[in-house]
């Protein structure tokens, strides 16, 4: 048997063996473990949280609308497993407005992780005051449990 034939059959044997080794009959290893056994499952240890003190309503580019810009929050992840969720929420009671963005953490999210809030545009008529008092919260959800990382007031300033 020449070398290239050997290479072909060797490769074919190897490629066919691996699924069998991980298969139902042999089952030596399980190579297809679900890496995310459902979103929100796992565990996370957060040992530090930094949240902004102010947010801004800025004029949108080339229109009269306002864009609500909330700076990113930062969390320090000491240890993590699975796919915990972090939701970042801003509510402005005076405007009856509330917005949350949920982040899916993954196993490589260790150390400082930035948590952002999606920007939203407001019609000019809806922004009447020069500043608003708002609530900012950061909640960690793991295995159907809630852990409040931060919950406090924030000022939203309107820039002209």
């Amino acid at each position: 048997m020449d070398r290239s034939r050997l290479a072909v059959w060797g490769a074919v044997a190897l490629i066919c063996c691996v699924p069998v080794l991980s298969g139902p009959v042999v089952g030596l290893v399980d190579l297809t473990k679900a890496p995310l056994e459902g979103v929100g499952d796992g565990s996370a240890t957060i040992d530090d949280v930094q949240t902004p003190d102010t947010a801004r309503f800025d004029r949108a580019l080339s229109s009269d609308s306002y864009v609500l810009k909330v700076p990113d929050a930062r969390i320090h992840v000491a240890a993590i497993e699975g796919r915990p969720l972090v939701s970042y929420k801003l509510s402005i009671p005076a405007m009856q407005y509330s917005r949350a963005t949920t982040h899916f953490l993954s196993a490589d999210d260790t150390g400082w992780v930035d948590i952002s809030l999606a920007r939203e545009t407001f019609a000019p008529a809806n922004v009447t005051q020069s500043s608003y008092e708002a609530e900012l919260s950061l909640i960690l959800r793991v295995n159907d449990t809630k852990q409040v990382l931060h919950d406090g007031p924030i000022t939203v300033e309107v820039t002209e």
């Binding site: 070398r3 290239s4 290479a7 072909v8 060797g10 490769a11 074919v12 190897l14 490629i15 066919c16 691996v18 699924p19 069998v20 991980s22 298969g23 139902p24 009959v25 042999v26 399980d30 190579l31 297809t32 473990k33 679900a34 890496p35």
Partner: protein, 674 residues
């Protein structure tokens, strides 16, 4: 190119094809001697005959394997469009041994589009397609008995890569290099796939089986185009045409979507090929005679009825219109052979219909809710029926009921089907502007976008496959010929026409050209009254237009000259357009925070711009070779835009289900977060 079965030069193993060929003839003449042959010999014989029948030759095998390998890159195991549920549930029922669908294994309930109701039972449709998927389902289930389900598809793909490397090496005369590259790539890709592997639920196997069958049908379609163009011109042109249709048109988009389109395209190209061979003189090596190929063309039409009766009727009309006047002979014997084979090929269709509706001519598509609900079509249908009611009815009254009943049934069905054509013709004459919305620019069409989840994801033929713009060369050639014949004396014109019709009878390629035009016309008439429509994405109703257009482009001598001389410029432009262009699209979509509809429109506009340039250059190539290089570059870019759309729609815009190759899913996840 004399014969597609020629063995490639530099083949160190002395060509299995030729050896197998000799072995075949040996088995034909001396069956008794078979017992002396070893099992290996017999296996080699079977392999070489299968190779010749399905892919033609070794280069065809490379095209086939290459298509499989490419299409799998963005294969998502899942349901793309709601009537996939119907087919998947019908396949589950069929695998259980019955036609009636009892349970919604897939989807929320059984009232999915395409499901039909008869005598209280529910049935699917396109049974030919479902039966074709059945062996693949058995194969997957058999493999899953010993192998990890999540690794089966990566394993099969890696094996395809090994074979692709080995066969490419042989074709290129560098067997050991090809083998080594194939083995290394396959092992590396397999290792990456195993590293990021995820489980695949065995309950998805019926969907995966339908998808595998569609992918195999796509690869067969692509390889059939290679064989056809390879025979009409040369193998190099054949490979180019096959690559264009597989890599740069929506044929790749619908390859892993379990709908009828991939199979219909494969069948239509199969008819083109059989028709061509039926007009060629027989060489001693051929397995089938020209008359046999003529019968095969009709047999494929017969099998098409099992997939979609209406389409089969349209194809049948196109075939009869071209085949009968140009056939070498329409004597009793030929017609008897063709007719018998045609009838036999429709037996699966008849049997399925009898089992479901009790009437061999009532396929599932005409049960319960009728397939053609547009008001225009209904008008056309009633016109046909009135025709049957008058003169024909009086004739039928004379016949005994035994004869009259089937005749009435056939007339009734065909008048409904003909109604489609009448409606199409009416639409074309009353509203020709609609063609612009089908072929040139779609954009935000009222009604279409709304039903497309308010997304502008409708693409016209040109937007989806800018390379199709090359058909302008055919138009220019036709224009030049027309101009010349008009400027000659009328007497001359008559003799010219006469001589042309003689040439037409003699030239197999001209016959196929005529069939391609007839087929395209037939599809256009069948569907134009309903277009533009939602859930089309790439005008999928006219799906055969893409390979037919590529065939038309490959037939143009000026374009063959341009791409033949500057093929390197074309290929490098294509490669650059894919590598750089796809990244530019990703960046543009991410930077602009574009939604799916917007992203698709970016592709549409870029495609149209390049298509316009390519169209002009392709037309100019008929008159001068000055712009040949530019034509090749524009063609390469147009093809690259088609490829970009395939890759990005598969990996970024239309994500559903899990990727067959876990590594592709990993890349898609990466792109989604970018």
């Amino acid at each position: 190119m004399t014969s597609a079965d020629a063995v490639d030069e530099g083949d160190t193993t002395a060509g299995d094809t030729a050896t197998g060929e000799r072995a075949t003839r040996m088995t034909d003449t001396a069956t008794g001697a078979l017992s002396s042959g070893t099992i290996t010999d017999r296996f080699a014989t079977v392999r070489s005959v299968a190779l010749r029948v399905f892919v033609g030759d070794r280069l065809g095998l490379v095209v086939f394997l290459g298509t499989l390998a490419f299409v799998a890159l963005y294969w998502r195991v899942g349901i793309f469009i709601t009537d996939n549920y119907t087919l998947a549930n019908a396949l589950v029922a069929l695998a259980d041994g019955h036609l009636a669908i009892e349970e919604a294994v897939f989807g929320p309930h059984l009232k999915t589009p395409g499901m039909v109701f008869h005598d209280g039972a529910k049935y699917g449709r396109n049974y030919g397609q479902i039966v074709f998927a059945l062996p693949f389902l058995w194969g997957l289930e058999a493999l899953a008995a010993v192998a990890d389900p999540g690794l089966i598809l990566p394993m099969l793909w890696a094996l395809v890569l090994v074979a692709l490397g080995r066969e490419s090496g042989r074709v290129l005369g560098r067997p050991s290099l090809g083998t080594n590259v194939g083995v290394v790539c396959a092992l590396a890709a397999f290792a990456v796939n195993v590293a990021v592997a995820r489980p695949l639920a065995p309950r998805l196997f019926p969907v995966a089986a339908l998808q595998v069958s569609a992918i195999v049908a796509t690869a067969l379609a692509v390889v059939t185009l290679y064989r056809l163009v390879g025979r009409v011109h040369d193998r190099r042109t054949g490979v180019a045409a096959a690559m264009v249709v597989g890599l740069a048109t929506p044929v790749g988009f619908w390859a892993s979507v379990p709908k009828r389109h991939a199979i219909v395209v494969a069948l239509a190209l199969g008819i083109c090929y059989a028709l061509f061979r039926s007009r060629q003189s027989q060489s001693p090596d051929d397995l089938v005679s020209p008359l046999g190929f003529r019968a095969i063309a009709y047999a494929i039409v017969g099998l098409t009825t099992w997939v979609h009766g209406g389409i089969a009727f349209g194809i049948f009309l196109a075939l009869v219109v071209v085949d009968v006047p140009t056939a070498r002979s329409n004597d009793i014997r030929s017609l008897a052979v063709v007719g018998t084979v045609f009838f036999v090929s429709m037996i699966p269709f008849f049997v399925t219909n009898v089992l479901i509706s009790g009437d061999p001519l009532r396929p599932p598509r005409v049960l319960y809710s009728f397939q053609y609900p547009t008001s225009d079509a209904a008008g056309g249908g009633s016109t046909g029926s009135t025709g049957t009611g008058g003169f024909v009815q009086s004739l039928l009254d004379v016949l005994p009921p035994v004869l009259a009943t089937p005749v009435i049934a056939v007339l009734d069905r065909s008048s409904v089907l003909l109604g489609e054509f009448v409606a199409g013709a009416n639409t074309l004459s009353s509203d020709p502007g609609r063609l612009y919305r089908v072929f040139v620019r779609g954009g935000d069409i009222a009604g279409v976008s709304r039903l497309n989840l308010d997304q502008t994801i409708y693409l016209t033929v040109l937007e989806a496959a800018p390379i199709v713009a090359g058909v302008t060369a055919a138009c220019a050639t036709g224009g030049v010929r027309l101009w010349r014949s008009v400027h000659r004396a009328p007497k001359n014109l008559v003799t010219r026409l006469r001589s042309r019709s003689g040439a037409f009878k003699k030239s197999p390629a001209t016959t196929v050209d005529a069939f391609v035009v007839a087929l395209a016309t037939s599809f256009l008439l069948m569907y134009v009254s309903r277009l533009p429509l939602h859930a089309q994405l790439t005008v999928r109703y006219l799906h055969p237009f893409y390979p037919l257009a590529v065939y038309a482009i490959a037939r143009q001598a000026p374009l063959r000259r341009a791409f033949g001389t500057h093929w390197q410029a074309g290929i490098w432009t294509w490669a650059g357009g894919v590598l750089v262009g796809s990244q530019l699209f990703v960046v543009a979509v991410a930077a602009g925070s574009l939604g799916r509809g917007e992203a698709v429109q970016v592709h549409a506009l870029a495609g149209l711009a390049v298509a316009a340039v390519f169209a002009a250059l392709a037309a100019s190539s008929v008159f001068s070779d000055r712009f040949d290089r530019a034509t090749a570059v524009a063609g390469g870019l147009a093809a690259a835009l088609g490829t970009d759309f395939l890759l990005l729609s598969g990996l970024v815009y239309f994500q559903y289900g899990q990727y067959a190759l876990p590594a592709a899913g990993w890349v898609a996840d990466l792109l989604a977060t970018a």
